[in-house]
């Protein structure tokens, strides 16, 4: 039995009414309208496809929150100007600008992603094998552990000014700080992942007389994978923070720079556009990494 939920549909109608209400001298806010209709379309799709009552109602709740937010934003900035005009631009203006600024932002995103991917992959490529080795060799762990304890917790942001002074280009400096930010979470979690492999599994591998290579790739690596995934996700968050921070300080392109640059000109409309764009990008990245993680750990129920 599917009952038609009242709250999200009612809010949607209220939002439409507010948007379409004729006001002399103002055109209909097309972009906000489009967003509202698209969201409702997605909601209806999820509502009809969902098998369980709970996922239907949570889809409704999410839609209702979005409508409420849009309604408030639209009314408080457009109809009854309660909020400061400069700091809180109208939704229609922001969304319109989002569309026109998209090509520029995508170009900036390209630059940012090159930095992010280089720094992150460098960290992954180095921290993962090192972590496996240090986790597996007790003596190496004992030698390295004190340094990990001192260097690991240093907030990577403090390296930025020095890295900019030290390295020849901004690009090299940001790749370096992203690398540092991503390295420790991956390294530390990989070491712990190796430690946390049940002793019984290691025994099982030993009695099969596995060669060191086979042992490392077919037992230690997959055994440590849950922890490695945790570290890699954490490292991604750190690299995003480091990327944004580096760009706020010293870049001349990229998405972090975009926000910083227009904030300097007090163009808060574009600042909000930039933040929304970053939000969408980060969501896409997280969605992708979750897929990868689920695939790598599919053996865990």
């Amino acid at each position: 039995m599917k009952t038609v939920p009242i709250v999200p549909n009612l809010l949607f109608v209220a939002l439409l009414a507010a948007l379409l209400w004729p006001v002399a001298g103002e055109s209909v806010p097309n972009h906000v309208l489009t967003v509202a209709v698209v969201i409702h379309g997605i909601y209806l799709l999820r509502f009809t496809c969902a098998r369980e009552e709970s996922s239907r109602s949570s889809a409704g709740d999410a839609a209702a929150i979005v409508y409420l937010f849009l309604l408030f934003w639209f009314l408080a900035t457009g109809r009854f100007v309660i909020l400061d005009k400069m700091l809180f631009p109208k939704p229609e203006g922001v969304l319109h600008l989002f569309v026109t600024e998209l090509p520029d932002m995508l170009k900036g995103l390209g630059n940012s992603l090159i930095l992010l991917v280089s720094g992150y992959l460098l960290a992954l490529g180095l921290a993962l094998p090192l972590g496996l080795l240090v986790g597996w060799r007790v003596r190496l762990f004992k030698a390295i552990n004190p340094f990990t304890k001192v260097l690991g917790p240093i907030p990577p942001i403090v390296y930025i000014p020095y890295a900019i002074a030290l390295l020849p280009s901004f690009r090299a400096a940001s790749i370096f700080v992203i690398f540092i930010g991503a390295f420790w979470p991956i390294f530390i979690n990989t070491v712990h992942g190796v430690f946390n492999i049940p002793k019984g599994l290691i025994d099982s591998a030993k009695v099969l007389n596995l060669k060191e290579r086979t042992l490392l790739f077919r037992v230690i690596l997959p055994g440590a994978m849950p922890s490695i995934c945790t570290g890699a996700t954490l490292a991604l968050v750190f690299s995003l923070v480091m990327l944004a921070a580096a760009e706020l300080i010293g870049a001349n392109s990229g998405i972090g720079w975009y926000v910083k640059n227009f904030a300097d000109f007090a163009d808060y409309q574009r600042v909000i556009v930039g933040i929304i764009f970053i939000g969408i990008v980060v969501t896409a990245i997280t969605w992708g990494t979750e897929r990868i993680e689920r695939h790598l750990l599919r053996w865990r129920n």
Partner: protein
């Protein structure tokens, strides 16, 4: 051949003497159960046989040459964690086959693995992950793996300890049937358990270990003809007498341990 000789072997872990002066000879093709309460060192003895630990003193030899480390001449089945959870049941067997018989084609490994899984009644489990199998099926797959590498010696550490009674009985029958299949080529099996009935059903000889430190208290031959049918065993006087004796040897141990515990409490130590 495949005779195992344990010669005045002791094992000390830190300041804790786990095993003291163990002397035992296991004939080729024999089925021996190590029976004892938990903490008596029976699993430690099995680890020494598997080559996962080295004795503090004494020596263990297989076919006259001392055991210095793990080897594929001994198959091992543990209570849990025998299978790698990230590989399917089939891949687990294939991995073992690759170690035991290197240089064959993928197709051959697959085929052999499938045969051994069929042998334990798991024909459909090849593509399944251990997480998708029941506890009994996992132990079947582990047994299939240990038979696939065709090692003359089989070491089992309470392999059915975590299973329910019916599954356990089925797997005991399966194990005996596999062991008995080719007479003259029987594997030498050393089976650790704390279950008296399990030991009596399976073993040619039961080695009872005592506590603190672990020593051999008694070696009891089980001269009951095979196949042993559970229902009939418990009707026979001599079998019941044997069971009674085994239980009393085992309990002697447990009672003296409990008494030691009580004295400590009387002195107020454990509070």
């Amino acid at each position: 051949m495949h005779e195992i000789v344990i010669d005045s072997t002791s094992f000390t872990y830190g300041s804790n003497e786990v095993l003291r002066d163990i002397n035992l000879t296991v004939e080729a093709g024999e089925f021996v159960c190590l029976l004892g309460p938990s903490g008596c060192g029976k699993s430690t003895l099995l680890r020494l046989l598997a080559g996962l630990s080295q004795p503090t003193s004494g020596s263990i030899a297989l076919d006259g040459s001392p055991i210095t480390g793990p080897g594929l001449d001994r198959g091992v089945v543990f209570q849990d964690y025998s299978l790698f959870p990230w590989m399917t049941a089939g891949q687990n067997v294939v991995l073992a086959l690759e170690q035991a018989f290197p240089g064959k084609s993928k197709q051959e490994y697959r085929q052999t693995a499938l045969e051994y899984l069929e042998m334990v009644g798991l024909a459909d489990a090849f593509p399944k992950l251990p997480g998708q199998l029941s506890g009994g099926m996992r132990q079947r797959a582990a047994i299939a793996r240990s038979f696939a590498i065709n090692s003359p010696v089989l070491l089992m550490d309470e392999p059915f300890g975590a299973l329910d009674a019916i599954t356990r009985a089925r797997l005991q029958d399966l194990l005996l049937q596999l062991w008995d299949q080719r007479e003259g080529e029987r594997k030498t099996v050393i089976f650790v358990t704390h279950d008296v009935d399990e030991a009596l059903l399976l073993a040619n000889r039961v080695v009872v270990l005592g506590l603190n430190p672990g020593t051999i208290k008694e070696i009891i031959p089980v001269n009951v003809p095979r196949p042993r049918i559970r229902k009939d065993l418990y009707l026979k006087e001599d079998f019941l007498a044997l069971r009674e004796r085994l239980v009393s040897v085992l309990h002697e141990n447990i009672l003296s341990e409990l008494e030691a515990g009580q004295t400590m409490h009387a002195q107020g130590d454990g509070i």
